[in-house]
């Protein structure tokens, strides 16, 4: 399974990748992007099976990344991994086409529960 991890923080990208492995997901191919613009380009060129994206990023934020993706017809499963986990954010994410929102800080168990349906 190919997973695109999009976050402007290299540290957070590493944590997400490590947490995916700690959650017990095996056989993963991880590709990374540092903002929504690069993520959108990689989503089109690499055809990932799952996208995990931060919300606040330079160049293109996560919600715009998702809307552009859905606007182009993509149905790739998309989850936000973000420091903001309010009900309003979750609703905005869902309305834009996200399958879910994982709030930071998170645990491997949270990842396992949230992503079990798609990984």
């Amino acid at each position: 399974m190919k997973i695109l991890v999009t976050d402007d923080s290299k540290a957070m990208r590493m944590i997400v990748v490590r947490t995916l492995r700690q959650a017990g997901f095996a056989g993963l191919e991880i590709i990374e992007a540092e903002n929504g613009q690069i993520g959108l380009s990689m989503a089109r060129s690499e055809a990932p099976d799952l996208i995990l994206s931060d919300w606040n990023m330079p160049e293109m934020n996560g919600i715009d990344f998702l809307r552009a993706l859905r606007g182009s017809g993509s149905t790739t499963p998309f989850y936000f991994v973000t420091s903001e986990g309010s009900d309003e954010m979750r609703e905005t994410a869902a309305q834009a086409g996200a399958m879910g929102l994982i709030a930071k800080p998170f645990t491997a168990e949270v990842f396992a529960d949230a992503l079990a349906a798609v990984v």
Binding site: S9, M14, N56, M57, D64, S83, S86, K104
Partner: protein
């Protein structure tokens, strides 16, 4: 603008927030600690929350000593001797996590800046609590005094400070939604 009194009212929630963030990020139990920050190297992560009603800013700063910052970078990057950019990235992300949770706690409609981080506490001095203004805690120029909560993890102190009306100069912001731009994406 959120006031000093409102932040003081939220102090127990802010303390719990800081403990939860540190415990989760370090996977070690954090505990309340109002000790001063250590002498020597300090690393500061700085963000701003812009209230969309009224347009006022709430500054959010996470500050800790170099020892914990290097521990954090080691845990994130696995490097025994992290380079400065990695150190700042790690502490910046800690600040981002804390500020995002502060935003969710205190605001309904607001924007969060991208994090900035600096070494040696060079983000600028944080005014001591109660150092500005009159008896109510409100400064003569309308800004309110900051509120700071402290905790420790792995024996190292971390302080979270919220600064009403803080100048967001130097911070960058994620782009806002531009529907016209999205419609023209190839």
């Amino acid at each position: 603008m959120i006031t000093h009194d409102e932040l003081e009212f939220a102090r127990p929630d802010l303390e719990a927030l800081l403990l939860e963030v540190l415990t989760s990020v370090f996977t070690e139990e954090a505990y309340p600690d109002d000790s001063p920050l250590p002498d020597g190297d300090l690393v500061t992560a700085r963000l701003s929350i812009l209230e969309e009603d009224g347009g006022s800013h709430l500054g959010v700063e996470i500050r800790t000593g170099g020892v914990l910052a290097r521990l954090l970078a080691w845990r994130m990057f696995g490097a025994d001797d992290p380079r400065e950019p990695d150190l700042l990235d790690a502490v910046g992300e800690l600040g981002n996590i804390a500020a995002g949770n502060v935003k969710s706690l205190l605001f309904h409609a607001a924007r969060l800046s991208l994090p900035g981080a600096r070494l040696d506490g060079a983000a600028g001095p944080i005014p001591p609590e109660g150092s500005t203004g009159g008896p109510t805690g409100d400064a003569a120029d309308g800004r309110a005094a900051p509120v700071t909560v402290g905790a420790a993890v792995l024996g190292q102190v971390v302080r979270l400070t919220l600064i009403p009306g803080a100048d967001p100069d130097g911070l960058t912001w994620p782009p806002t939604t531009d529907d016209e731009l999205l419609e023209t994406q190839p």
